[in-house]
């Protein structure tokens, strides 16, 4: 049967489809007071839409579904941020999805609405027979630990937590301070006002590690170049990861105090910084934003032109790596620590801001990166993985 023939049949069938909808459909069951005319035109619209979209060719019956390359079942439980948090849940989710595509494994995912969902979600993964369950965030540590102890034959991995020591649990953590150090150096080298700023969502280690590294990078720039660039906002926190307007206000305050480069470490709240900086630039300033977690230039919807660079945690890659190691039967419980050396953390390209970063700063960044990897420069935060 050709496509053309099908389309023809569709057009002929259309009126019958319509009248069928009027006579047997839900319309006649409406209360009498319902505006019938409006109902009919809405129905005509709906039916036409259905007709237009419903006229494709039916696929041939499949002889049987193709088996995946492996019967490995990889699972993931998010924390209460959900899979669309622009942060570690989303990256981990993307990593799982990439593993599904590349390795042909089965994947089950569960989004936690709140902390009370953690235990039931992890339990239902274990019950579903998951070979490897990836949990996200330190809040899931207790649950993961218990589930791992109760199910010694299943494997677990936990992102952003290093508290569990068990044969079947692999922690995935990041020494983000290293990449933030580079960003701090770039910021100090690019700032024209001699003031840069940062703020966090909550005062928790995974946030403060960015801020610590950033400050140390600025200080290093000052030492090397005899400059006096100040860091504002080391104690500033918006109190949440979802109050975008708080991010905007905080950023405006920093701009008013003379800072021209802002690094928000607050997930989606960073959008408030972009708003504030775009508005300030329209009024004649020349401010910039440093994004975190992912390359903001690729992910944000508006204001990407003011992003100087991004401090990236490449979580998706790490998760895919852990999954593929387990698929190959080489699971181990040594923590994966993302560093500059193994590419787990890095800074993003300058994109639109390429011309604004002085050449010698760009050169020094490569140099510093090598020194951090070799250990010549020590970047240490209270929050660094030990």
């Amino acid at each position: 049967m050709t496509d053309g023939a099908l389309r023809l049949r569709c057009t002929i069938e259309a009126p019958y489809g319509e009248s069928h909808f009027f006579s047997g459909g839900t319309l006649k069951n409406y209360p009498r007071s319902f505006k019938r005319n409006a109902g009919i035109s809405a129905a005509v619209l709906g039916v036409s839409a259905l007709l237009l979209s419903g006229c494709g060719a039916a696929p041939e019956e499949e002889a049987g579904s193709a088996e995946g390359a492996t019967d490995f079942l990889g699972c993931m439980v998010s924390d209460s941020g959900g899979f669309d948090d622009n942060s570690f849940n989303e990256s981990t989710y993307n990593g799982m999805m990439k593993a599904k595509e590349d390795l042909g494994i089965e994947v089950k995912t569960a989004e936690s609405q709140s902390e009370t969902d953690f235990t039931p979600n992890v339990d239902s993964m274990v019950q579903a027979g998951c070979d490897l369950t990836v949990t996200v965030g330190f809040l899931l540590a207790d649950t993961t630990k218990e589930a791992a102890a109760a199910n010694p034959d299943s494997h677990f991995a936990i992102v952003d937590d290093n508290s569990i020591v068990a044969d079947n649990v692999k922690p995935i953590i990041y020494d983000t301070a290293q990449a933030a150090f580079l960003a701090g150096y770039v910021a100090a080298g690019t700032s024209q006002t001699g003031k840069v700023a940062t703020y966090g969502g909550l005062d928790i280690p995974t946030v403060t590690i960015f801020m610590d590294g950033f400050e140390q990078g600025v200080n290093y720039f000052n030492e090397e170049n005899g400059a006096d660039v100040q860091v504002l906002g080391m104690d500033s926190f918006t109190g949440s990861f979802d109050d975008v307007s708080a991010g905007k206000t905080t950023t405006q305050n920093f701009l008013n105090e003379g800072a021209d480069i802002i690094m928000p470490v607050a997930g989606p709240v960073g959008a408030g910084s972009l708003d504030a900086v775009v508005a300030a630039n329209a009024a004649g300033k020349d401010a910039k934003v440093i994004w975190v977690d992912s390359d903001g230039y690729e992910t944000v919807s508006t204001g990407k032109e003011v992003i100087l660079t991004s401090v990236m945690k490449l979580m998706g890659e790490a998760v895919e790596d852990v999954v593929s190691t387990d698929v190959d039967g080489n699971f181990d419980n040594t923590p994966y620590i993302g560093t500059l050396e193994n590419g787990g953390v890095t800074i993003a390209p300058f994109h639109d801001q390429e011309a604004n970063v002085p050449e010698d700063v760009k050169k020094s960044v490569e140099d510093i990166k090598a020194k951090i990897i070799s250990g010549d420069i020590k970047v240490e935060s209270e929050s660094s993985p030990k």
């Binding site: 569709c10 007709l51 419903g54 006229c55 979600n121 005062d203 928790i204």
Partner: protein
């Protein structure tokens, strides 16, 4: 008050006039003919039956036109709409819809299997797991439902008693959080022998919730500050207070600066009710006892009668010698203690630690639970079980069928929406409004009493 007499003298034939008068009377009863502000909860929703209503209608008709029927149908309707949403968002349905007219059966069967599969998983996750390989796993989902329902029932009762007293307690969330924080602190910072420790944890939790709600009650009673605003604001204060506490070393684990408290002592925890294989704990028994107590309090005790009188008509109650200020404070203390117990059930029952998200959304779900249960103790209990089942089953639904957990939220929200609009449900299912068959309607017998009190 003269309208009272005219209603009584209305011949049964002039029903429409009587009905209009009843509505007017109800409004009059609520506002004492404009002298006091209308209560946040309409009198009709408080089910504050002060006297015995001897209904003369047949049992079937009463059942059909009752509020309970509307609740049941609301749930049913929400499930149907939810099923349509599940089908509409299903990938396979989307694919098969593209060739609907060449092979319509594909899409219809895909839609059916998506919705049916999701609800089957929801059922298996909430009641019995038919695919289980052991008796324990077979009953595990049911115990999960009861576990999740525990805080919902307790907080729901807290909201319900406040409703009955005419107060819209939006603050259950904050009361749970403060109750949980105090209970958790006693649980991990103090070390006491078995029994005594748990008792202290429970008392601390109730005290925490009672203090938090009591603030709103006192402000309402002394200054007339509206309880809706006060409790909402106290929710914010509570959540940020706990966030602050969790940033101090006193509430953190030794050697860690993550905002998560140490685990509570084993002695401070509710013992498991059915053995260690299940998460169900003695907190559920506490919830049942609380329900019985609230039923007794509201229906058999003097305090309960006074509270309901205050709820039905504050002016009338005052004239009858009942102190409304005392009523507001007492009911908020009770409501807060119940919500605090919900917090205890969280930290000493399921979560074992204090985090900023320890209350989940239970405080807000509790409002829904109380509304769905028509503010009666056992209605709230049943509604709590239903929402517990949704939450417990939603987990399995998500894992097994990949249906978004948000669908469960949509269904819950739709239930509220339908319950908030009884005429919609009544007209969809062609249920007669309450009192349509009555010769001596519930309203015309009840309202003159309350209105008479105000006169």
């Amino acid at each position: 008050m003269s309208p009272e007499d005219s209603t009584m003298q209305d011949p049964p034939g002039e029903r429409s006039i009587a009905a209009a008068e009843a509505t007017r009377l109800e409004a009059a009863a609520e506002t004492a003919d404009g002298t006091v502000a209308p209560p946040a909860v309409p009198a009709a929703h408080q089910s504050g039956d002060l006297g015995d209503d001897r209904s003369r209608q047949s049992a079937l008709r009463q059942m059909l036109s009752s509020n309970a029927m509307v609740s049941v149908l609301s749930v049913l309707l929400a499930l149907i709409v939810g099923g349509i949403l599940i089908a509409a968002t299903d990938e396979e349905v989307g694919e098969t819809a593209s060739y609907f007219f060449s092979r319509p059966g594909d899409m219809l069967s895909a839609a059916w299997s998506a919705a049916a599969g999701a609800y089957a998983a929801l059922f298996q996750g909430a009641f019995f797991n038919f695919g289980a390989d052991s008796v324990q796993r077979f009953f595990y989902p049911l115990t999960q439902t009861l576990t999740v329902a525990t805080p919902l029932i307790l907080a729901g009762l807290g909201v319900a008693v406040a409703f009955r007293t005419g107060l819209f307690n939006i603050g259950a969330q904050g009361q749970i959080i403060i109750g949980a924080a105090m209970a958790a602190w006693v649980g991990f910072a103090v070390h006491l022998p078995v029994g005594l420790h748990l008792l202290l944890v429970i008392i601390a939790g109730m005290l925490g919730g009672a203090i938090w709600a009591g603030i709103a009650g006192i402000l309402k009673a002394r200054t007339g500050a509206h309880e809706v605003i006060v409790t909402i604001m106290l929710n914010y204060v509570a959540i940020n207070l706990v966030l602050f506490l969790l940033s101090t070393p006193a509430f953190q684990r030794p050697g860690s600066s993550n905002p998560i408290s140490p685990q509570l002592d084993a002695n401070a925890m509710f013992p498991p009710l059915l053995g260690s294989g299940f998460r169900l704990h003695w907190g559920f028994v506490l919830a049942v006892l609380a329900t019985v107590f609230i039923w007794w309090l509201m229906n058999r005790s003097t305090i309960g009668f006074e509270l309901k009188a205050v709820g039905a008509n504050p002016s009338a109650a005052r004239n009858a010698g009942i102190s409304t200020t005392k009523g507001y404070v007492v009911v908020m203390l009770i409501a807060g203690a119940l919500s605090g117990l919900a917090g205890v059930a969280q930290v000493a029952g399921t979560e074992k630690v204090l985090t900023s998200g320890v209350a989940a959304s239970f405080g807000f779900d509790a409002i829904t639970v109380a509304l769905l249960g028509r503010s009666s103790p056992w209605g709230t209990f049943a509604a709590g079980l239903l929402f517990g089942a949704f939450r417990a089953g939603g987990v399995t639904m998500q894992t097994n069928t990949g249906t978004s957990i948000d669908i469960v939220l949509v269904v819950q929200s739709l239930i509220v929406l339908f319950i908030a609009a009884p005429p919609l449900v009544r007209s969809l299912f062609r249920i007669p409004p309450p009192g349509a068959f009555k010769t001596t309607g519930k309203r015309s017998s009840k309202n003159p009493k309350t209105a008479g009190g105000a006169a």
